[in-house]
C-alpha cells in the first residue's frame, strides 16, 4: 500500500528546549512544537487540514489554540506510542483524501506538571481492582515486572541489563541536548539506588518536560518543502494486554512483534535493510525485547548483542542514537522523540549522525507493554 501512494514527513521539530521547563504549560509545549514543525516544513497554520494528538489536552484544544479548523481529527491515545499510530492513521487519511497535510503534536509537562492532567485510575476500573491494591506505583513498579522471568528463561545477566544504559549514554555524550551526558560504567549503574529490584535508577528513564510535532503529507509534494523528505515506507500497530499481569508472554512483546511484522511487510524490508533503529526505552529491558521481537537477534541474545557493542557508536546497528529515554529526555510519552530522532538520522542532521542512513525503524510502546506502533522511515520512495 505504501508503494501505491507515498506519504512523507515534511516537517519535524521539537520544542526549543527539552528537560526541566516549569515556565511552560502542557498546551504551550504543544503549541511551540507545532509552530516549529510548521516552520520546518515552510508552511503556515492555514495549510494544515488535519490534526492528531493524545488527550490531554486533545486534538480539539490543540487545533483551536493554533487557529486550525481541521477536516480530520485523530485523538488516538494508547500511551507513549500514540504518535507512531498518528503517523500511520494520517497516512491512511491522506491516501483516502480526508486530509492533505496533517499536524501531529506532543507536549507534556511530565516533570513540572504545569497544566497537566492527573493520572486517574478509579478503584472500580479493572486495573484499580486487580493491580493497584498490590501497591503498583506507576511504570517503575509495573513495566519492570516481566524481566525476572526473562532473566530466568534466557540467562540475561544483571550486568547485561545495566549495559543497555551504558551503551546509550555513549550516544547521549554526543548530543548536546541530552539531559545526562557523562559516560557511565556497569558498576555505576549497579551502584545506583534500587528503584524496583532488579532495576536501578540508571536503568529507568528520565522524567522531563518537552514536546515535538510532525507534518505528514503526500509524497507527490516532496519537492515542495525546504527540508529533505522522509518517506513513510511502512507502518504497523498492535497491542498485548491492558495490564502487565495479563501480558501474553513475559519474555516477549507480542505487540512489538506484530506491529513490527506489519510495518516490515508494508515496507517490503527485512532487518538487513535497516541502518538505524529507535526502540522506545522507558527501562533498560525494553530495547532487548524490541531487538528480539523485530528479529534483529534471536530470542535470548539481545542482551549479549548490546553488551558486545553492536548498538553503540561504531556498532553495526546504531540504536537510540539521541541517548534515548534513559539519557536524552522522557516526558512520559516519549514516542514522539523516537520519531524525531529517526527523522533527523534519515535527513542527515542528527547530533550523533550515523553515516548513510537509508532506512530507520522506530519502535514505540504504550501503556508499558500494552501497545506498539512501528514506523519504517526512508530517504527514498520505494
Amino acid at each position: 500500500m505504501s508503494r501505491e501512494r507515498g506519504v512523507i514527513i515534511a516537517g519535524a521539530a521539537e520544542t526549543d528546549a527539552v528537560g526541566k521547563l516549569p515556565e511552560y504549560s502542557t498546551l504551550q509545549l504543544h503549541v511551540e512544537a507545532a509552530v516549529n514543525a510548521v516552520a520546518d516544513a515552510g508552511l503556515t497554520m492555514r495549510d494544515i487540514d488535519g490534526i492528531a494528538t493524545v488527550n490531554s489536552p486533545g486534538p480539539v484544544q490543540v487545533a483551536h489554540a493554533l487557529g486550525i479548523t481541521p477536516a480530520y481529527m485523530d485523538g488516538t491515545a494508547v500511551g507513549g506510542t500514540s504518535f507512531l499510530l498518528h503517523v500511520r492513521h494520517a497516512a491512511a487519511a491522506i491516501r483516502a483524501g480526508y486530509a492533505s497535510t496533517v499536524l501531529i503534536t506532543h507536549g507534556e509537562s511530565g516533570r513540572s506538571r504545569v497544566g497537566a492532567s492527573p493520572f486517574p485510575r478509579g478503584a472500580s476500573t479493572i486495573p484499580g481492582q486487580f493491580e493497584a491494591p498490590y501497591g503498583t506505583a506507576g511504570p517503575t513498579s509495573s513495566f519492570t515486572i516481566p524481566v525476572l522471568r526473562y532473566m530466568k528463561e534466557y540467562g540475561l545477566t544483571h550486568e547485561q541489563l545495566a549495559y543497555v544504559a551504558v551503551a546509550q549514554r555513549k550516544w547521549a555524550a554526543r548530543n548536546p541536548r541530552a539531559m545526562f551526558r557523562d559516560l557511565i560504567t556497569v558498576d555505576d549503574v549497579l551502584a545506583s539506588r534500587v528503584v524496583a529490584w532488579p532495576f536501578h535508577l540508571l536503568e529507568c528513564c528520565l522524567v522531563t518536560d518537552g514536546g515535538g510535532a510532525l507534518i505528514v503529507t503526500s509524497a507527490e509534494r516532496a519537492a515542495d518543502f525546504p527540508r529533505p523528505a522522509v518517506h513513510v515506507l511502512g507502518t504497523g500497530e498492535s497491542m498485548d494486554a491492558p495490564m502487565i499481569s495479563q501480558m501474553a508472554d513475559f519474555t516477549e512483546s507480542k505487540a512489538f512483534r506484530l506491529a513490527g511484522q506489519a510495518a516490515f511487510a508494508d515496507a517490503g524490508i527485512t532487518t538487513s535493510d535497516v541502518n538505524h533503529l529507535m526502540v522506545y526505552d522507558a527501562f533498560a529491558h525494553v530495547p532487548i525485547y524490541g531487538l528480539e521481537a523485530l528479529g534483529f537477534t534471536a530470542k535470548g541474545e539481545a542482551g549479549a548483542f548490546i553488551a558486545d557493542g553492536n548498538t553503540e557508536p561504531g556498532g553495526r546497528l546504531p540504536l537510540n542514537t539521541n541517548g534515548g529515554g534513559l539519557s536524552y529526555t522522557h516526558t512520559g510519552m516519549y514516542g514522539m522523540f523516537a520519531i524525531q530522532e529517526g527523522v533527523r538520522q534519515v535527513r542527515g542532521e542528527a547530533a550523533a549522525q550515523v553515516p548513510d542512513v537509508n532506512i530507520s525503524v522506530v519502535v514505540g510502546n504504550g501503556g508499558m507493554f500494552a501497545t506498539s506502533g512501528v514506523l519504517v522511515l526512508g530517504r527514498h520512495a520505494r
Binding site: 478509579g122 478503584a123 472500580s124 479493572i126 484499580g128 481492582q129 486487580f130 493491580e131 493497584a132 491494591p133 498490590y134 501497591g135 503498583t136 506505583a137 517503575t140 513498579s141 509495573s142 519492570t144 515486572i145 516481566p146 524481566v147 525476572l148 522471568r149 530466568k152 539506588r193 534500587v194 528503584v195 524496583a196 529490584w197 532488579p198 532495576f199 495490564m243 502487565i244 499481569s245 495479563q246 513475559f250
Partner: protein
C-alpha cells in the same frame, strides 16, 4: 482521597487502595469474602480465565461460569518496589508479584509470610492463596505453600 482530606488526617498514613467491585467482578470479591478464589471458565472450550469478564477470551463464547480455583500457584515474576505506592509507605521494600494459578491464569498479588528479598523469592516456588482484609474487601494474596499465614 482529596489533598484536603489527607491534610485533615494529619500525619496518619493514607489508606491502601481498596478495590471497588463492579457487577461483572462482584462474584470474584464475594468469593474472596468467603475465603475462596473464584474465577471463571468457558463452558464451550473449557478455558479458565482471569480477570472477570463476561466473554471467553479464548473462543468468544458468552457461555461462561464461575468456579472455585484450588488457590495453588507458582511465582511467575516480580519486582521489589523501593518507591512505595500511597498507603505502602510503612511496609519497607515490598514485592509486587505475578503468580500463575494451577489452573493457568495469572494474577498480580503481594507475597506474605516470607521475607520480600531476592534471596527468598525464587521464581516457580509453590504458593497458596490467603486473604487479607482491605477496607470492606478481602484481598487475595499469596504465601509459600504448606505454611499457615
Amino acid at each position: 482521597m482529596s489533598a484536603a482530606g489527607a491534610s485533615a488526617r494529619g500525619q496518619q498514613t493514607p489508606a491502601k487502595p481498596v478495590p471497588e467491585p463492579t457487577p461483572e467482578t462482584q462474584p470474584f470479591w464475594d468469593g474472596c469474602a468467603a475465603g475462596e478464589l473464584r474465577i471463571q471458565r468457558c463452558r464451550d472450550c473449557g478455558k479458565p480465565y482471569f480477570y472477570p469478564r463476561p466473554v471467553c477470551p479464548e473462543c468468544g463464547s458468552t457461555d461462561v461460569e464461575w468456579f472455585t480455583a484450588s488457590g495453588r500457584a507458582t511465582l511467575y515474576s516480580y519486582v521489589i518496589n523501593h518507591r512505595p505506592a500511597r498507603g505502602f509507605e510503612n511496609d519497607g521494600p515490598y514485592a509486587i508479584a505475578v503468580v500463575q494459578l494451577a489452573e493457568g491464569p495469572r494474577m498480580m498479588t503481594n507475597l506474605v509470610g516470607i521475607p520480600n528479598t531476592p534471596e527468598d523469592l525464587v521464581l516457580d516456588m509453590e504458593l497458596q492463596v490467603t486473604f487479607e482484609p482491605r477496607g470492606e474487601i478481602s484481598l487475595p494474596v499469596f504465601t509459600p505453600a504448606g505454611e499457615e499465614h
